[in-house]
Structure formats: structure tokens, C-alpha cells
Symmetry: C2
Subunit: 243 residues, 2 copies
Amino acid sequence: MTYAVGFLLDEGLVFASDSRTNAGVDQVSIARKMTVFEKSGDRFMALLGSGNLAITQAVVRLVNEDLDTGGPGDIFAAPTMFAAARMIGAVLRNVYEVDGDALKEQGIEFNAAFIFGGQIDKREARLYQIYSAGNFIEASPETPYLQIGETKYGKPIIDRTITHESSIAQAIKCAILSFDSTMRSNISVGPPIDILTYVRDSLKAGLRVRLPEGDEYLTGIREYWSNALRGAFEHMPDPDWLK
Amino acid sequence: MTYAVGFLLDEGLVFASDSRTNAGVDQVSIARKMTVFEKSGDRFMALLGSGNLAITQAVVRLVNEDLDTGGPGDIFAAPTMFAAARMIGAVLRNVYEVDGDALKEQGIEFNAAFIFGGQIDKREARLYQIYSAGNFIEASPETPYLQIGETKYGKPIIDRTITHESSIAQAIKCAILSFDSTMRSNISVGPPIDILTYVRDSLKAGLRVRLPEGDEYLTGIREYWSNALRGAFEHMPDPDWLK
């Protein structure tokens, strides 16, 4: 399992993903699930994958090859982020055409999802969630974040704290809390956590941080948040019918 | 969708369930999903259902009939809670035998789960989660709560605040927070929320409360908790690499 989240903010974009991958509980390892495609001064794009690692890695590999050869996944040639998202979707459909039947025969679901965001030149920054079928939805000021993978445990904290007007720093901290809630409840999501920021109109990657297992800040925040929640819980008023 | 949770505490048992039922978004109504079976002074039992309402209502109906006729679901004749849970499982399997094929033909999953807890005479209080197949697991001091239905949104808050040593009052308040998180994220879970308590060795139902939509305490707690979380979030320390 994976958990990944992307935020579309007035200030820019924030991406976060975990790095745990597992095929059953006896084969757990670390895989980077975040890829940056960048042509500094022209465009910045980030792609986060969840689902079957063979599928998501094939997509990333094919896109990289197409960048070199000018193939159908050459997102550096896309005129808009929408066109680039369609290219990623088309590459994913290509993987399905090649591997889909064989996977079905083995009883394995064709399960893959991506968060894809970035900005091209002076156009709007965009953030998309791409489904297994290669189609996609877009984030907006009303829905300023998108999640893939194990999304539910970490959703309530985002709903309560983040709007499109939140700062990049706030979104980073919220993402860390969202991961903390998820990691507590689902052992197949785990550190290192990759964090990536993009400042609107900068056309290059901003901060790139990897928080490993036992990271001091991660551990500190876990304790801070647990204490804050327990404190708030202890002071929660009783209902009349309980007095 | 439904959400229901049961707590096994040193003090006793706490149950909570929502009352929203839907078949698609255009058929939403209210159904009580919590049933009490009580023989005051001898035994107290509560059954909370989630999943296909026709299945869970059939189980409750059949158990009620068997109480009158001494049939296989006569849980008033069960010598132990374990035996009673097996009876409920057997009734559920009976529903599957009768309805399972027809449901399959209509492409409908046989989807039902129950939380079942209580106490018989001077025996231990027990809490079980019964699966669609009629088998079940039991809560313990290490795992003092069980959830059915839309469980993930409301799990982190329970994990952070409740142990088997928590009071009944604490578990009630935690259950309300857990429902609040769930209702914010999944529109198919909604009030009224039914709450039921059982004080260990009392052999009769304790508090029974129904919190309707717009309930003053529910609304107040929603605001209190949102403010507390936002406050804690605002004071969350920055990582060094963000300064």
C-alpha cells in the first residue's frame, strides 16, 4: 500500500508520499514513488504513483524514454498541463494493453493511480489525479487537495485545517500529520516520507526533503500531536445527559 | 453505508451507531441499527448491524422470532456470550442460504457485519465482531474496540485516546468525535447517532441516547473539536529545514 497527497495552494504546490512497498507482509521494501520532471525556466512537473509497483514504475520508465525519443509520453513537448496529464493517461493505457490480460489471468487487479501536478511557462499551476483507466480529475480552490492509495485515515485532519489559501509551510505540516495518522492505522504505509514543494511561477522544484524512520522532527510531531489531541480530549465538555 | 463501534472497558460496554441508510444517493432514510436483547437480572446483549439492510434486518427479525419459539437463534437460552455469538452467526448463514444465490444473480454482494456484546449472569462481559460468513473475532484489553462499516475516518481518534481503562464517559465522547470525523468525510454516514452503555455486572441496559441532526451537544462538540485541532495545528512547531 501507499499513501500520497498533493495540495494546490495559492502559493504553489506541495506533494508528499511514503516509500513503503509490499507484496504481502513478508516482502516489504523501500521504493521512491515520487518523480520530478523539470526543465528549469520552462516547466516543472511531479508524478506520484500508488498501486501495483510494476505498473507505476513501467509508466515512469516509459515517460522517461519518451522524453528522450519524443514518443507519445514526451510531456516536455506538451503545450499544457492538461495535455501532459492526457499523455500520462495514454502511457498508463499502453501498459494496460501490454500487461492487462496477463495480470487478469493471474487474478491480479490492474490497480494504479497517480497524482500529477506542475506548471508550464506562464500558464496556471495544475494538479490532477489520474485513475487506472487513464482518465483524471483536477483539484480546484474548493477541493485543494487530492489523495491516492490509503487515503481515509489521513483525510479528516486535512479537511479540518487546509484551504487553498493555506501556506506551503502549513500544507507540509498538515501532510506530515496526515501521514502520521495513516501510519498509525495501516502498517503497510511507512517512512521514509518524501516531501516536495513547488512555488508558483518558479518553474523549478522547491524544497525536497526525505524524512526517514526515526526522523527527529517526525517523532517530535507525533508526540506533540498526540499530546495536543489527548489534552483537547480531556477538556472536552460532558453532555448534560452524562452529568 | 453505516458506521458502528463498540468498546470493551473495565467499567463496561459502550455502543454507538449511526442511523442513515441508503440505496444510492436518491434513497436515503433512517433505520435503527442497534437492537437490545435483555432479560433484566440474567443477561444483557446488544447487536449493531452494518451492510445490506435487508440482510441485517432479517437476522434481527429471525433472532426475535427464535426468542419466542425457542428456535436456533434463541440467544436467551445461550449459556455463554460465545454460544450466543455463534447463534447469531448461524442465523446469518441461514439468511445466506435463503437469499445468497438470488443476491448473487442480481450482482449484489452478501455484505453484512455485526457488533455483538453483552454479559450473561456472573460471566465475563464480551464484545464480538461477526463477519458476513458468520464467524467472528473478540475484543480484548489490548484491542478494546471493534468497528464495522465505514471504519477508517473515525479510527485515528480512537487509537489515540481510548484504552480498556478509559471510563464509559470517555468512550462516549470519543465515539462522538469518531462519528464526527466520519460524517465529515462520508455523506452516507449521518445522524441520528444512537448511543448505548452497559455497566459491568448490571445485567441491564444503561444509558440510551439518540442524538438527532442539529443536536446541541453534537454541534457544540464539532465546533469545540475543530477549534482545538486548528489551535494545535497553528502552534505546531516548524521543522528546522523550513525555517
